[in-house]
């Protein structure tokens, strides 16, 4: 089973980065499908239009956990515009690839990040 995942995926699965919750997050993005068994939540903290802090919580397979961990690394310190440009493929490539069967169901981290950012932007809009 391990054989289907790259070493990089296993690394992030075994020792995920930025795992947990941000209690006073500026925005939260949750995506996933309980039938497939992947649910993920991204918490972001914004400062000067940049992702100042980011954490995740994920219920799912090794691929789901590794992509969550990777997206937090990719997004940290980026401007919101830059972070919105991170794609699912970027995440998969940074992990040296994902098994094709996992590309759709478990590669949701970019979606969760985008959702969190959009929630943040909407909130800002309302506050104006």
């Amino acid at each position: 089973m391990t054989g289907m995942y790259s070493e990089k995926v296993m690394e992030h699965f075994r020792k995920p980065k930025n795992m947990g919750k941000i209690e006073d997050a500026d925005a939260v993005g949750t995506v996933g499908n309980p039938v497939c068994g992947d649910l993920m939540t991204i918490y972001i903290k914004i400062k000067d239009n940049k992702i100042h802090d980011i954490k995740f919580q994920t219920f799912g397979c090794a691929a789901a956990i590794a992509t969550s961990s990777m997206i937090t690394e990719l997004a940290k310190g980026k401007t919101l515009d830059e972070a919105l440009k991170i794609t699912r493929d970027d995440v998969a490539n940074e992990l040296n690839g994902l098994p094709s069967i996992k590309m759709h169901c478990s590669n949701l981290a970019a979606d969760a990040l985008h959702k969190a950012i959009k929630n943040y932007l909407q909130k800002k809009e309302r506050e104006k």
């Binding site: 699965f13 309980p34 039938v35 497939c36 068994g37 992947d38 994920t58 219920f59 691929a63 069967i101």
Partner: protein, 391 residues
């Protein structure tokens, strides 16, 4: 790192004695059992000797055993063989075949195939422990029902069906009864005559024999239509040159199973009970399947807030081999049909873990598993958005 194998429901190691019995049949007694010369006769002798051993484990006649290429093939031959024999019944009101919703795919997919050909199939639901309702079975039977196929014990949750009662009902209604006993054989004494079973599938690699070989018990006098045609081997029911080394292996495995059953059962059940007791001490952990009516080597759990593939890979990192009903580890990306049938939600089904023990496991191994499992579950729960109790 030491490795601990707790996936015996998937497959077992081949017993050394089985390997030793098989070896000469690769390089020394390699004849075709149909040949008349001494090489052929030697192979034929081994074939019949093995048949005797399989028959002896089941307490049936030798001529009631045919060899196949495995459990899946035995199920196919039994179910299609009886269905094709009753081909004309397709045009009557059903159900023609009654099965359960938690069968192995070897049975379920065969039934679906027959449905496409016009047979009407009833898939009986099961209760939360995975047991079919006998009253419902009786009510479902129609005058056109010709086959009941219900597994002896479930491959995932280990639940044992009331086979004797089902057999009794089948007999009273003059219906043929097939059971897939792949998981149960060798773990509990099975005598088809005592439980009114007409056809019974077994597989070698679940009982310390080699892969790629199995057997089908067919009650004397029962006629089935072959689905594999050719040179007329195995009474014309399963043509193909006999896999003599494999069959010798299965024979030896049956002999060992009979000899060791009592001792193995005691040893395995003791470890299994300890495993269940210790694991259920973990917060929000549950046992799936029936608390008593289950295979002696099966322990099946679910843990709130975590997903099975992650759990499996984490156990694998600690050298422990296990299995899960989570979609993430399957090719279909669907949660286990068995876990859904016993009423679990998809999320609950994803958090499942099957530990299936074998005769070579030790108490020390079980202690190691119950030592490392709580840390793993703790770690995965910390990552999970579904585990609310964050510190």
């Amino acid at each position: 790192m030491k490795k601990i194998y707790l996936d015996h429901a998937a497959t077992t190691p081949v017993d050394k004695k089985v390997v030793e019995a098989m070896l000469p049949y690769f390089y020394k007694h390699y004849g075709n059992a149909s040949s008349l010369h001494s090489f052929g006769r030697k192979a034929h002798e081994a074939l019949e000797e093995s048949r005797k051993k399989v028959a002896s484990l089941l307490n049936v006649k030798e001529k009631e055993i045919i060899f196949t290429a495995g459990g899946t093939e035995s199920d196919n031959i039994a179910i299609k063989g009886i269905a094709y024999k009753n081909r004309e019944k397709r045009y009557t009101k059903g159900p023609h075949i009654i099965t359960s919703s938690i069968e192995h795919p070897a049975v379920l997919e065969t039934c679906k195939h027959l449905e496409m050909q016009g047979y009407k199939i009833k898939y009986l639901p099961v209760d939360k422990h995975g047991i079919i309702n006998i009253d419902e079975l009786e009510k479902t039977i129609s005058k056109n029902t010709f086959l009941i196929t219900i597994m002896y014990a479930n491959n995932e949750i280990g639940t044992i069906q009331p086979i004797k009662e089902i057999g009794q009902i089948a007999r009273e209604n003059n219906i043929i009864f097939h059971t897939d006993a792949v998981q149960a054989i060798g773990k509990t004494p099975i005598d088809p005559n005592k439980i009114n079973v007409d056809l019974l599938s077994i597989s070698s690699h679940k009982m310390y024999g080699p892969k790629g070989v199995g057997a089908l018990y067919i009650r004397e006098g029962l006629s089935i239509q072959p689905i594999i045609h050719g040179g007329g081997h195995e009474r014309g029911i399963r043509s193909s040159t006999e896999n003599i080394p494999g069959i010798v292996g299965l024979g030896k495995a049956c002999e060992l199973a009979k000899k060791r059953m009592e001792k193995d059962t005691k040893h395995i059940k003791k470890m299994r009970d300890k495993l269940i007791k210790n694991i259920l001490e973990i917060e929000e952990s549950y046992l799936n399947g029936h608390p008593q009516k289950r295979l002696i080597n099966n322990a099946h759990f679910r843990f709130t807030g975590i997903e099975g593939e992650s759990l499996l890979l984490s156990l694998d990192d600690k050298g422990i081999a296990a299995s899960t009903g989570s979609a993430c580890s399957s090719k279909k990306l669907q949660p286990s049909h068995v876990l859904i049938a016993i009423g679990l939600t998809p999320i609950e089904a994803h958090g499942s873990l099957r530990l299936s023990l074998g005769r070579e496991n030790t108490q020390e191994e079980i202690s190691y598993v119950t030592d490392v499992l709580p840390e793993i579950i703790n770690r995965l729960r910390k990552i999970s958005p579904l585990w609310k109790k964050q510190e």
